[in-house]
Amino acid sequence: MSPLSYSESEFRDPVHGFIVVSPWERQIIDHPVFQRLRRIRQLAWTDMVYPGAHHTRFEHSLGVMHVATRFYDSVVRRYRDFFLAELGYNDAGLERDRTVVRLAALLHDVGHSPYSHAGEEVMPVNPDSGKRYKHEAYSAALIRGPLRGVIEEHPLNENTHVTAAEVAGLLEGNPETGRTLFWKDLISGQLDADRADYLLRDSYHSGVNYGKYDLDRLAVTLAVQPDPESGTPTLAVEHGGWHAAEGLILARYMMFTQVYFHHTRRAFDLHYEQALSKLLHEENGDGCFPPPTSEKNLDDYLQWSDWKVNGLLAAGRGGLHGDAIRRRDHYRCAFQTGEVPGEDELNLARNIYDAFKSAGLEFSDDEATASWYKFAPGKDILIVGENGGSPAPLSKLSSAVRGLMTVRQVRLYVAPKDRVRAREIVREARETEEE
C-alpha cells in the first residue's frame, strides 16, 4: 500500500452497523495476535443454554473501539473548553488521545484465554501480588511485545508517535499515562465502552432482550463533572440522560441474572475450568497457562484458542469434566440462596455444603461475586444537577437503581448421579432450619 494513499475499511456489525477503521488500525486488526480473537468465544459455553451465543471477542473488540470513539467524540465536542482550559490540551493533543483511546479499546481483550473469562481460574499466580494474572496483563504484554511494531511503525503514526507503552499503560492504569488516564473510565469504569458494547451484543446473540438500553441517548449525554467530594473531573451523565444510565444498570442486572450467571452456564464454567486445567497439565506439565513474562511464554500462550481446546476435547481429553462438556451431562444446581442472601441463608448453604461433603457426594460450589461479570449496581454514577443544581449519584434519582443490591447468590452443584441424594439432604437441612 502506498503510504500516500488513505483508504478506510468498514466492518459490517449486527449491533452498530458499519464500524470504520483507518489503514493503520486495519493493519493491527490483520495481525495474527488480533485475528486470534476470532477463535475466542465471547461468552464461553453460554451456547449450551442460548444456542445463538457463538459470537467472538473479535467483533466485540471492534464494537468497543466504536463505542469508545462515540463516547470520546461526544464528550470532547461538548466539553472542549474544559479540556483546553483545565487539562492543558490543544486540538492536536485531543486528536492524539483519541487515537490512544481507540487503540486501547480495540486491543483491550487480545490477552484473553480460550473461552474468555472461563479460563481466568487457570491463569498462573503472579509471585509479586500473590494473585492470579488476569487477561488484562496478557493484553498489556502482547501490546508491548508482538503488537508493538504494528502499533508504532505505521506511516500514519509519523505525526502522533503513539507508543505501544502508552496504549498498554491506559489499559493498566500506569502512572506514566499522565493526563490521558482521564479516559481510562471509557475503557474500564461505570460507563465504559466495554460494558456498553457487550450488553447489546450478548443480548443480540443470545436472543434475549435483557441487555437493551438506549446507547444513543447515553452517548450524547455523557458529561464531565467535578466529583462532589474531591472536585476531580469525572465522567458523568447530564441530567437529561439519567434514564439512559438507569437503563444501562438495569440491563446489566438482567443480563447478569439471566445470562452471565445462568445456573447451567456456570455449571459449564466449572467443568471447563477443571477440564482446561487437566489439558494444561497434559500439554505443558503445569495446570495453568504460562505467565506473560517472556516472549516464549507469550508465543506458547497464543497457541491456545477455542480451536485447540475443542480439538483436545473432541479427542476425548479433559477427563471427567471434559466428558461432561462433550455429552452435555453437566452438574446440576442442587441448592441456591436468594440473590442477596442474609446470614441465615449463608449458614444454611454452609450446612448443606458440609452435609454433601460428609455424604461423599461429587459436588462443587459457586458464588455470584466469583463471576467476572459480578453485578454491583452503579449507584454512584454521577448525574449532573438540573438547571445548575447540585449533582447527585444515580441512586438518588432512580428508585429502581436505589433498590438494586450487589448480587451475592451462592449455589451448590452436584453430579447427575448424586441428584437424588442431594435433594434429600437439602430437604432435611431446610426442615432442620425451620425447627
Partner: protein, 184 residues
C-alpha cells in the same frame, strides 16, 4: 471449597468501624473510604483482597463500593447523599454485631487500623486522593530503584492531577515521608 460461603463480616465491620472513627472529624464519604482502605491494604498490610487500579481520581476498586452496599444492607453503616451530591457514611445500628463476628480480624489488624485512621482522618477527600495517588506512583516507581526521585514523582503526579500545583504536591510528598508511608 471454591468460594467462601460466609458473610463478608471482616470488610463489613471494618467499613463500619472506619465510619465511626472518622465521623467525629466531619463527614466521611466514599472517597475517604476508598483511599483509607487503599492505605490499609497497600501500606498497612491488612489483607482485604482488593485490587486497586489507578484512575485520574486515584487508586480505585469498585469492589469497595459493593462492600459499602453490603454494609448498608446489613446496617453496619448508614449511607445518605449530601446536598452537594457526595456521600455521608455513618455507623449503623448493627455495627457492634458485625464487629463481634469480625473480632479476630479487627484485633489482628488493630495496630495498622489505628495508625492509619489516626494519620488520615480529618483530611479532605481531595487531600486523600492526592496522597493515595502519590503513594501509588511512588510504589510503582520504586520497582525501578535507579529511577526513583522526588522530582520524578512530582512530575508524574502533576501530569496525572493537573489541578494540583507542584508546591502542593511537594508538600503532600513531605507529609507522606514524615508519616513513614513512603521513603527516599
Amino acid at each position: 471449597m471454591r468460594v467462601s460461603i460466609k458473610f463478608p463480616w471482616n470488610r463489613t465491620a471494618l467499613i463500619g468501624q472506619l465510619a465511626r472513627s472518622c465521623e467525629k472529624e466531619g463527614y466521611f464519604g466514599r472517597t475517604a473510604l476508598m483511599k483509607i482502605l487503599y492505605f490499609l491494604q497497600e501500606f498497612g498490610g491488612v489483607d482485604l483482597g482488593y485490587d486497586f487500579s489507578l484512575y485520574n481520581y486515584g487508586p480505585f476498586d469498585s469492589e469497595v463500593l459493593s462492600d459499602l452496599d453490603t454494609a448498608k444492607v446489613f446496617s453496619a453503616v448508614k449511607v445518605s447523599v449530601r446536598h452537594s451530591g457526595g456521600y455521608q457514611i455513618e455507623p449503623g445500628e448493627e455495627l457492634e454485631r458485625a464487629e463481634g463476628f469480625a473480632a479476630a480480624f479487627l484485633t489482628e489488624n488493630g495496630t495498622a487500623i489505628d495508625k492509619i485512621v489516626g494519620d488520615l482522618r480529618g483530611k479532605s477527600a481531595k487531600e486523600l486522593e492526592l496522597l493515595a495517588t502519590i503513594h501509588f506512583v511512588w510504589r510503582d516507581q520504586s520497582e525501578r530503584p535507579d529511577d526513583i526521585s522526588v522530582d520524578k514523582i512530582i512530575e508524574r503526579v502533576a501530569s496525572l492531577k493537573p489541578e494540583f500545583p507542584e508546591p502542593r504536591i511537594q508538600s503532600a510528598i513531605k507529609d507522606l515521608l514524615d508519616l513513614g508511608y513512603i521513603e527516599h
